[in-house]
């Protein structure tokens, strides 16, 4: 499993959903990249940070029964690929939701949660997970 510095380097993006926008083609990317894969050299100097709202729709999902590492204690847990409203897709766990409720196309939003910890007294790593967006009438 990754060590603390490796996690911390990603924290600005993981905590705040900071990606980039390429002002050459207008496409958005998460996590940040130095070069736009569409525009290549034309994107140099035209990439700026973009904060994503963290809302999107389930593109696909799975209930994971065979976990790895410390997540083994949380089995089963849900993993989804989510298409953010700004375009990019990201992968993460879905919480506060039973598998039977989850559907492709269902609306979710990101929340900051504990991802893992380095042993019982070790560093705790945080990042985004998804929760369902409930209909306001409910």
């Amino acid at each position: 499993m990754a060590t603390a510095p490796r996690f911390w380097r990603q924290n600005p993006s993981r905590y705040n959903l900071i990606g980039i926008k390429c002002n050459s083609c207008g496409k958005n990317y998460f996590p940040p990249r130095a070069i736009c894969p569409v525009c290549h050299r034309k994107s140099v100097g035209k990439i700026e940070p973009l904060k994503f709202k963290g809302e999107g729709a389930i593109f696909s999902f799975s209930e994971v029964h065979e976990g790895i590492d410390e997540k083994a204690t949380l089995k089963p847990y849900l993993v989804a690929m989510v298409e953010l409203d700004e375009g990019p897709k990201i992968t993460g766990q879905v919480i506060d939701c039973d598998a039977c409720d989850l559907k492709i196309g269902a609306r979710v939003r990101t929340v900051l949660r504990k991802l893992s910890e380095e042993g019982s007294a070790g560093v705790i790593h945080y990042g985004y997970k998804f929760v369902p967006v409930r209909d306001k009438k409910e």
Partner: protein
């Protein structure tokens, strides 16, 4: 460029090889290939070894020199190169060997692949396999390697109506082929119920949708086609070789249901071979999960997008079907010692094209294809072989 032939093949049984070390199995496969080619050690100009993660599986790096050393070649001081592209390490090693001979740099090249996975726990093995996908943006967020394939499977079912039973049919077919292969890790036939009642790994994928962890090695000997008849009666020519890459993370792909790297690698290999899909009688494809075989047979162009599941259900990919897929049993039943897999595919296709595959022999096989994938599709290697 020179034309390149395979003049020798060798492999170990795949499975739990408790009594053999990494170097033992590597040498077993290599020696078998050299024996088969009827060459002697001093004729070898270079060695390439496909291996994904010896550093983590057996805490040993520097595999190229290790294998050359225990093959008895240390005093010959030949170039020995280890090649890594996760699950595609073996196929990539084969391509490096192919390029070395085609370019004229080397005449006789031994290409091997090996992985010793059973010395670590299941959890450690899963973690190592996950390192083929994006650690920082997939694994650390909770995605296992199996669950990434589960995302593909569920979406494929959603968009194309592929059924849970059709996924099972891939495993049933490959276990049937494996039952005819004495080198396979699993040699028992199974039925749909066995797959559908096996424990969930990552819904909708179950234990019998997944290839196993395995120990094993496989190797081939390459030389210029013009020299091949000096060594063997039935050389098999590598007539096409294609390699392509894509985003490391699955969620960044153009379409998670189409492995673009497969499409591009296949296109390059077919172009070089001057052949079309209908000219191929058998293919070893990268079925690390049942859904992977369905994507593979679609993206290689054997079946239309979305019709891979139905084609499997209808028996079109069986040994006696219109194209025999994974005659060895595939990764699913023959086993998947990661770095060895790409070479094991080549060994199977060469064995078939020589007409010596025994009970699993495909009738009148003259052209075969191998398809080797790294990660969830970030590296793909395709080779096309023809009996000459």
């Amino acid at each position: 460029m020179r034309r390149v032939a395979v003049i020798g093949v060798g492999d170990t049984k795949f499975g739990e090889l408790w009594d053999a070390s990494f170097r033992d199995i590597g040498i077993r496969a290599g020696l078998a290939a050299v024996e088969d080619a009827k060459i002697s050690a001093e004729m070898i100009d270079a060695v390439f070894v496909g291996n994904m993660s010896a550093g983590r599986f057996i805490e040993q790096e520097h595999i190229g020199a290790l294998i050359a050393d225990y093959a008895g070649l240390a005093r010959d001081h030949i170039p020995a190169t280890r090649v890594e592209a996760a699950g595609a390490s073996g196929g990539l090693a084969l391509r490096q060997g192919f390029m070395a001979v085609a370019s004229g740099l080397h005449d006789i090249v031994v290409v091997g692949g090996a992985e010793k996975m059973m010395d670590v726990s299941d959890i450690a093995s899963s973690m190592i396999q996950s390192s083929a996908s994006d650690q920082e943006w997939e694994t650390e967020l909770g995605a296992t390697f199996a669950s990434l394939h589960a995302l593909i499977a569920r979406r494929h079912m959603h968009e194309y109506g592929t059924t849970r039973e059709q996924l099972a049919d891939v495993a049933v077919k490959n276990h049937k082929n494996g039952s005819l292969n004495p080198k396979a890790q699993f040699q028992r036939e199974i039925n749909r119920d066995v797959v559908l009642r096996s424990p969930l790994v990552a819904d909708p994928l179950r234990v019998f949708d997944c290839s196993p962890s395995s120990d094993g090695a496989a190797a081939v000997v390459l030389c210029p086609l013009d020299d091949a008849k000096k060594y063997v009666e039935t050389p098999v020519e590598i007539i096409g070789s294609g390699q392509a890459s894509d985003t490391l993370a699955l969620h960044h792909r153009r379409d998670i249901l189409t492995m673009d790297a497969t499409r591009i690698a296949a296109k390059k290999a077919f172009k070089r071979a001057g052949l079309e899909q209908k000219d191929v009688q058998l293919a070893e494809v990268h079925d690390n999960f049942t859904i992977s075989e369905i994507l593979a047979i679609e993206d290689l162009g054997f079946f239309k997008k979305g019709e891979g599941g139905k084609a499997t259900e209808d028996g079109r990919t069986a040994l006696d079907g219109e194209i025999a897929i994974n005659t060895s049993g595939g990764l699913k039943a023959r086993g998947d010692p990661i770095g060895a897999t790409g070479l094991a595919q080549a060994v199977e296709v060469v064995t078939q094209l020589r007409g010596v595959a025994g009970k699993r022999q495909v009738k009148d096989a003259s052209v075969g294809l191998t398809h080797n994938v790294g990660g969830t599709g970030a590296t793909v290697i395709v080779h096309i072989f023809r009996r000459s």
